[in-house]
Symmetry: C2
Subunit: 175 residues, 2 copies
């Protein structure tokens, strides 16, 4: 066949698009949830802020944010007040809300392997230590996310070991 086809080598590669794979990624939902929660933590304790206001403050699509706030409410992280002067506010002090709490509320357990916890997988042969690695990954995420609270974030005072990670030389290298 052939004949003319080619030129292919040069490659058209329209590369339709930006690949966008996801494994160990941070979803928009998680990012939005943390940002909205920061705004709530930065405001007066029991004064409700309406969803629309949060959306504007953080440039989050308003209707999507409502889904997120709903998940946070179901997990007991925020509470809501309906009616004319309603809105959302934190359900407990910002010092007691970790980032891990927020992420789990909107996106489920950390470091799940194909929907299940790492310790529920079973690996054989040369790969038998792989479960340990996923457990280590989860533990290292927890070191950051379980210890950092909303209060830390808005006060711009992160826990020492978290700050140390950020200050480490290659933390900002893009790779």
């Amino acid at each position: 066949m052939s004949s003319v086809d080619t030129e292919i080598s040069s490659m058209s590669t329209p590369i339709s698009l930006i690949s966008q794979e996801r494994s160990l990624k941070i979803s928009a939902k998680t990012d939005y949830a943390v940002r909205a929660a920061c705004e709530l933590a930065g405001a007066e304790p029991a004064k409700p802020i309406k969803a629309e206001t949060l959306a504007q403050l953080q440039a989050i699509p308003a209707n999507f944010l409502e889904n997120i706030l709903s998940a946070l409410r179901n997990s007991g992280i925020v509470r809501s007040q309906r009616g004319a002067v309603g809105g959302y506010f934190l359900a407990r002090p910002a010092e007691t809300i970790s980032l891990a709490d927020i992420i789990r509320a909107v996106d489920g357990p950390l470091a799940a392997v194909r929907g299940e916890a790492p310790e529920d997988q079973n690996y054989s042969g040369a790969a038998s230590k792989v479960a340990d690695i996923w457990v280590a990954v989860r533990a290292s995420l927890r070191v950051v996310l379980e210890e950092t609270t909303l209060a830390d974030l808005v006060a711009q005072k992160l826990p020492k070991h978290v700050q140390a990670l950020i200050d480490s030389p290659d933390a900002w290298s893009r790779r």
Copy 2:
């Protein structure tokens, strides 16, 4: 507030289903890639193993595995040999291949926030420190994934700080 409303507790709650969200999750692709690479690392250096055999050894869907091996080959992690006695083998010594290399080959950069690097986001207001947190998350992932090699995994000798994470009391708590 109310009074009667309740009953809510009982609530139909169809609970649509097991949620299965994904943020900071480990994809099937990543898991399969690491397991297949372990088998290659556990075998003799330049003796090719065919995809079908790898698939059986690790119970990975064979055709899907070919996609994954193709990605690993494009990233220079494995090499392949066609023909009757062909198959796949590691392109370089197992000591020089980190888990981060493998994950990036099949699923792109670690800890991307909505498709972009954390340092490319810009945050305002009460959330201005959020970028730092995502950088810390990425750095903590790297601590585990950049230092652990395929050789470590098959030898069942993980780096000290990784083993320390695994041995820490709450690493295995399910949460």
